[in-house]
Subunit: 359 residues, 2 copies
């Protein structure tokens, strides 16, 4: 199945550059029944995915892993894409692992371990469950409590030289080294019990960890026989002002999860649109849909049904639909989304005491 | 009290250089009732010892900490000096901590964690107890099981830059960084519960860890309020061939613990001596005691009683005693020493199941 991305027309230049610079594989899914992120080109690249595809098709063991950074009681739509992809692989037989990067939160962001734990239990894990993660089929752990992970990180430290590290990360500060080695240990930890293919859905900024993990798999082949983990990369959720990434330094560019629905609507109404300068021009030329951040939200996050999205695209592109109408839809959908998230989190919080955390 | 070192006459050039290069304090003990290593100049330097001296005199809390490298079932006389100093501080009210550096043994020496644990329980800890460590007053732990230590190491990683690390260690390989940060976490771990002065008896090659620990104490003052740990340095046990250090690459230079007493005697008889070329010359000029490795063994390790050692020194120095006689004494003493060690270890092994290991 080919990727259908009728909306973005072309992968933006930035992503082409990423694929070339990092030697990624452009995503042309051979995965069965792809989710909307895959169908719509939001998942834009992967690295070494073949063993996972094979495991799914042959119904063999594989895993999917991601991490939570338990800093504040807010996440964003990028996390939602990660959860959507975890859920995809989980639904196709993958063992899911979600780790809480509390060591990193403590060391790099000054959140003490106790607060990090509280944040994760009361907010992040319920949010991930509300966004679709199946808690009964997921293994959770805290980095600070998992000696198998920290022991593996220690072991890996002897297998990488200063120069190799600099080539991958561009920095050799001890803090950077420690967090990278720990994340690589996280990535490979599920294979300690039994080697199997694995896939790590991440933002592209996490790719260096995937590369280092793949190098370390080769260097520890004799001892562990790990499979090389696959990277699975989704685009950034575009900023409401049209720039590549949302940023906390520009609050108007950013939608957080959860966020008050009225506040979200207000920001959407102010967001960069693909509408023309005058009504007449709009009716005549149609919208520049690629520039429309409200449509981008609908496409990436808010509308599941391809037919429904296609209709909006066509109507907007041909000038039949106005910017205000697209924003009305986005506002209505985000209001539903936030309400569903809130209720889902309330339900999920009741499950927390029953979860098992490995140590 | 001044150091009495009538035997070595002068601190060898190498040690003067170490003191200057590293900015150590030459050891002039103000400690009460110094042990033989302190009285005889085997302890040759310290760093920041004042708070510990004060704690002993004022009967306040302090700690003494050292580590075991559980690689093979052999230790050497350098470990014996460490134990002797731990015991000294332990007997003066210090809380003793002995950690098993199993993570380092696994990562750097390829000893898996299970084997490292077995080695430590069956050999190293019994040996340390046989050499004088009080097991009832000692806290033991394994690095691989102590999440407080690994968590602290992670936190410290963000407080040191690449350049600072290179200035202290001369290397910034990830493996070096990981082991250094973990050792610094070991050094400060006893203060997590309650800040107090501490002293770390080590070989001089471990001084960089003391320096980094002292830097990190300053940088985490706000959060932890740790006391700066003191370094406490003993000389190398001279090699039997007269070079600075014993080495496994020159088996004849090396006495291990335990070692077959007859084999040890054989090596001592072949060791570099301070005797003159002819009997007549020896009687006339006396021995060059500083060059005599058998005497050095008596001084550093085998004879407790100062008067007895002084007599041997005088008789040998004046030519009254011959090299063979000094070696006879060394052989007799080392035979007693090895026998006592063996019996002590047999007794100590029975205590192991009762020891508590913190996690």
């Amino acid at each position: 199945m080919k990727i259908i991305d009728p909306y973005g027309s072309e992968l933006p230049e930035d992503y082409h550059k990423l694929i070339n610079d990092f030697g990624l594989e452009p995503f042309t899914t051979k995965l069965p029944r792809p989710n909307k992120l895959m169908r719509r080109g939001v998942v834009f690249a992967s690295r070494g995915l073949e063993p996972v595809i094979k495991a799914i098709k042959q119904k063999k063991k594989f895993y999917v892993l991601s991490g939570i950074m338990p800093t504040s009681e807010k996440i964003h739509f990028g996390n939602r894409s990660v959860v959507e992809n975890i859920k995809y692989f989980q639904d196709r037989g993958g063992k899911a692992f979600v780790l809480v990067a509390d060591l990193e939160a403590a060391a790099a962001r000054g959140i003490d371990l106790k607060t990090a734990k509280k944040n994760a239990l009361e907010f992040h894990i319920p949010a991930y469950i509300a966004l679709g993660l199946n808690p009964r089929k997921t293994t959770f752990y805290f980095q600070s409590e998992n000696t198998k992970v920290t022991n593996l990180a220690y072991e890996f430290s002897k297998k990488v030289t200063h120069n190799e590290f600099r080539a991958i990360y561009g920095s050799t500060d001890p803090g950077k080294i420690m967090s990278a080695l720990t994340q690589v240990a996280d990535i490979l930890y599920p294979q300690l019990e039994e080697p199997m293919p694995g896939v790590i859905p991440v933002g592209i900024d996490q790719d260096p960890h995937i590369r280092l993990a793949r190098d370390l798999v080769k260097r520890t082949r004799q001892k562990y026989g790990f499979f090389s983990p696959a990277g699975f990369y989704h685009k950034y959720t575009p900023s409401l002002d049209g720039s590549l990434k949302m940023s906390k330094s520009r609050p108007e560019s950013l939608l957080e999860l959860p966020e008050d629905a009225r506040e979200a609507c207000r920001k959407i109404r102010k967001a960069l649109s693909g509408g023309r300068k005058t009504l007449a021009e709009h009716r005549k030329l149609g919208a520049i849909v690629e520039n429309d951040m409200a449509f981008e939200l609908l496409k990436q996050h808010l509308i599941e049904d391809d037919k429904k999205l296609n209709k909006i695209y066509r109507d907007y592109k041909t000038g039949k639909m106005l910017t205000k109408e697209v924003k009305d839809i986005a506002c209505k959908e985000i209001t539903k989304f936030m309400s569903k998230l809130e209720k889902g989190m309330q339900r999920a919080r009741k499950l927390i005491p029953k979860l098992k955390f490995v140590r």
